[in-house]
């Protein structure tokens, strides 16, 4: 990797897609988020571990392969059907580590608390974090608290960082996806995003949609034991399955072809998305993984996922191809084809 700036491809970081300042879309996990990372963050920090743009960094320290990751959690409301900011803060970072094939071990926690937050809520959140850590098999070993003025935060923001060990022989990265590989997803997509949206927007659906927040390290261990030659793992959180697959297609310079009919989607999530004009492929998940692996191993991988309680609805949803590198397409349910592109910012509900 070059240490000096590449002036041929250099782009002034300031006029970001015509927005001179941060807009909400920069946090949406789409192209605007990608811009922030590529034009502001990467040039400044510039190192090999960061450049892979995986869910976390894989580091070699004194002969040990360590996974290291961090994530911040800003969700409104703090508690939603099926989970809370506490579950997300533990599971999210555990999952980022697991997507490198690592066994997550230790987490840190930073609590940024808004003045006026009831102590009882903070207490509940911390207890829930402890419970989530027990379930995930990790310890929270260091932390920090800060209080900000009233009106400067949605009650509570949490940052967690984590480290874990990557077992010998495991080489998992977005760049490793190869033409001919199969694409698997471990279960129903779009649950988390629609669960949060249904309470945030005050939408009243007949059926309660529950967040899928869960630690994936157990399922990853089972999967790796069955199929050690996994090429890529990703947890499709913000921006959903579509954004994760676009990032992989770009990183590995391959095309990806999905089949709409193979996508596991709960009827109530599909219905809520229809109602709001959203595409479930772009809706966030917090307890699902995408696995990309040689087609010959796909059935075995599928079987091992389905034996795990979190993977009973796992499915093969598509394949990696050498055609149209960097682009994800899907075969529609009536036999047509369309592009599954990267969203610009957040998905916006359509007018009618």
């Amino acid at each position: 990797m070059s240490q000096s700036p590449d002036f041929d491809n250099w782009i002034c970081p300031l006029p970001l897609r015509d927005y001179p300042q941060i807009v909400l879309g920069h946090g949406g996990g789409g192209k605007l988020s990608q811009d922030l990372v590529e034009h502001i963050v990467l040039p400044a920090f510039n190192n090999g571990a960061l450049a892979s743009l995986a869910d976390g960094a894989a580091l070699n320290i004194a002969g040990i392969r360590l996974a290291f990751s961090t994530d911040s959690y800003v969700v409104r409301p703090l508690f939603f059907p099926g989970g809370s900011i506490a579950d997300l803060a533990v599971n999210g970072t555990v999952n980022d580590l697991a997507m490198l094939g690592a066994q997550p071990m230790f987490l840190s926690v930073g609590l940024i608390i808004e003045e006026g937050l009831p102590l009882s809520i903070l207490g509940t959140v911390v207890e829930q974090m402890a419970a989530a850590a027990r379930i995930a098999g990790v310890q929270i070993v260091t932390g920090d608290t800060k209080v900000v003025d009233k009106g400067h935060g949605d009650g509570l923001y949490i940052n967690t960082s984590g480290i874990g060990l990557i077992p010998d022989g495991i080489q998992i990265a977005p760049q490793n996806a190869r033409p001919g590989d199969s694409v698997l997803v471990s279960g129903m997509i779009g649950d988390h995003g629609m669960a949060v949206m249904s309470v945030r927007e005050g939408l009243e659906f007949e059926t309660l949609i529950i967040s899928d927040s869960a630690p994936l390290n157990g399922m990853v261990a089972v999967l790796l034991a069955a199929v050690p030659e996994i090429h890529t793992l990703r947890d499709p959180t913000r921006g959903g399955v579509a954004s994760s697959l676009n990032e992989i297609a770009r990183a590995a310079d391959v095309g990806i072809e999905l089949e709409d009919n193979q996508l596991p989607i709960r009827p109530e999530v599909a219905a809520a998305c229809e109602l709001l004009g959203l595409d479930p492929l772009y809706v966030a998940n917090e307890g699902k993984l995408i696995a990309i692996l040689p087609a010959a191993q796909a059935e075995r991988a599928l079987e091992s996922l389905r034996h795990h309680p979190l993977g009973k609805d796992a499915a093969i949803i598509g394949q990696v191809t050498a055609e149209h590198p960097g682009i994800v397409t899907t075969k529609t349910s009536i036999g047509g084809r369309r592009i599954v592109s990267m969203q610009v910012g957040e998905q916006l509900p359509r007018i009618c």
């Binding site: 229809e274 009536i334 084809r337």
Partner: protein, 369 residues
């Protein structure tokens, strides 16, 4: 999903496609009027499945696309005022005005909120009596009844801190403007099912007769769209030009009477600018005199704002079906969903955005038509 999956049945789609192929003997240009139909056509890949003789031209029925630039600039000016809570449907936030969009106003401290119904904005007004709450009342006949209801309720409840920036547009005058244009290539229209569910379809009968053009009321699911195409093709091949209803499960000839009643209580017809097309006489609705006090353009004195559109953007020609989005030289270059020059690239229903989103890598030669 009950009442949805039935209309996406792959076998029935194949059957209908077969019937359309059997019926077609020569090229026909059909326009689907509504952006929701365009979205469904591209999202499901319907245009790739039709016989090559059938060209689908994407019409002007996307409210986000045709709302005039000056109305967007007026919205931006109002939203930027201190004390204002500006409420809008989600996809209007990214529509560029002359210099910025509602997201940028929000990022500068403006209180811009996404709502799902104008009645939500009314509720916000009741809960914030010291703030001015403005709803961006745009769209076709489909969104109009709820907007009319909101203004009606505001007056009834004596809400003095609620107003609406109204820029409603109407389908029939737009269809007539398109057919009567010297450049018109459209030979049949798939009328917008949702609009017709409100207004009915009797208004289209004189148009079909006068211009000898088939008009088929059409829905949005793959089978609905194909049923509309089938009906239009049968008429064209037989030399007929009638109004037919291929969306009978939602649309009746007279439409929704209570909705029309509230519309005539609150709105009156007016001339309206269409982004990319220009002025169409008697093609919009504005608030009637007794409700004028709820007109945000008057309340915030933003009438004077006038603007002109980018000379690069050819969204007008796209909206009139004269060019395909990817035939515009700015498409995918100067103009992308991230940096849209025209509104057709902004809305998920806009023809350019639909092309960019779903068909960008497809060789233009391989696209039917």
């Amino acid at each position: 999903m009950k009442y949805l999956t039935e209309y996406r049945d792959a076998d029935l789609v194949q059957k209908l496609l077969f019937e359309i192929r059997q019926a077609v003997t020569r090229p026909w240009a059909l326009m689907e009027v509504c952006g929701g139909q365009t979205h469904s056509i591209i999202r499901n890949g319907i245009d790739q499945l039709l016989p090559p003789q059938i060209e689908l031209i994407h019409g002007p029925g996307c409210p986000v696309c045709v709302t005039p630039l000056e109305t967007i600039d007026q919205a931006l000016a109002i939203a930027a005022q201190p004390g204002v809570i500006f409420c809008s449907f989600g996809d209007m936030l990214r529509v560029p005005g002359s210099e910025r969009d509602l997201f940028a106003v929000k990022s500068n401290g403006g209180d811009v909120r996404i709502v799902y119904s104008p009645l939500d904005a009314l509720k916000i007004a009741r809960e914030n009596p010291s703030r001015e709450v403005v709803f961006f009342g745009i769209g076709f006949e489909t969104t109009a009844p709820a907007n009319a209801q909101a203004v009606f309720q505001a007056k009834k409840q004596g809400l003095t801190n609620f107003s609406m920036l109204v820029s409603h547009v109407l389908v029939p005058p737009a269809i007539e403007a398109l057919i009567s244009a010297p450049t018109n290539r459209v030979q049949a229209f798939l009328a917008a099912g949702h609009v017709c569910s409100v207004m009915g379809y009797w208004q289209y009968e004189p148009l079909a007769h006068k211009y000898h053009v088939p008009i088929v009321v059409t829905g949005f699911e793959p089978l609905d769209v194909l049923a509309g195409v089938h009906s239009a093709v049968l008429q064209l091949e037989a030399g007929r030009a009638e109004v037919e209803n291929a969306y009978a499960r939602a649309v009746q000839r007279d439409g929704n009477q209570p909705a029309q009643k509230i519309l005539s209580e609150v709105f009156e017809m007016c001339d309206r600018q269409w982004r990319g097309i220009g002025l169409i006489e008697q093609s919009g609705w504005q608030l009637l005199e007794p409700y004028r006090a709820f007109d945000a353009a008057h309340r915030f004195n933003v009438h004077h704002i006038q603007t002109t559109e980018s000379p690069l953007c050819r969204s007008g020609e796209v909206l009139q079906g004269l060019i395909k989005p990817n035939q515009c030289s700015a498409f995918g270059r100067e103009c992308t969903p991230v940096r849209p020059l025209g509104a057709t690239m902004v809305s998920s229903e806009g023809a350019c955005a639909a092309y960019y989103q779903y068909g960008r890598f497809i060789d233009p030669e391989s696209i039917p038509g």
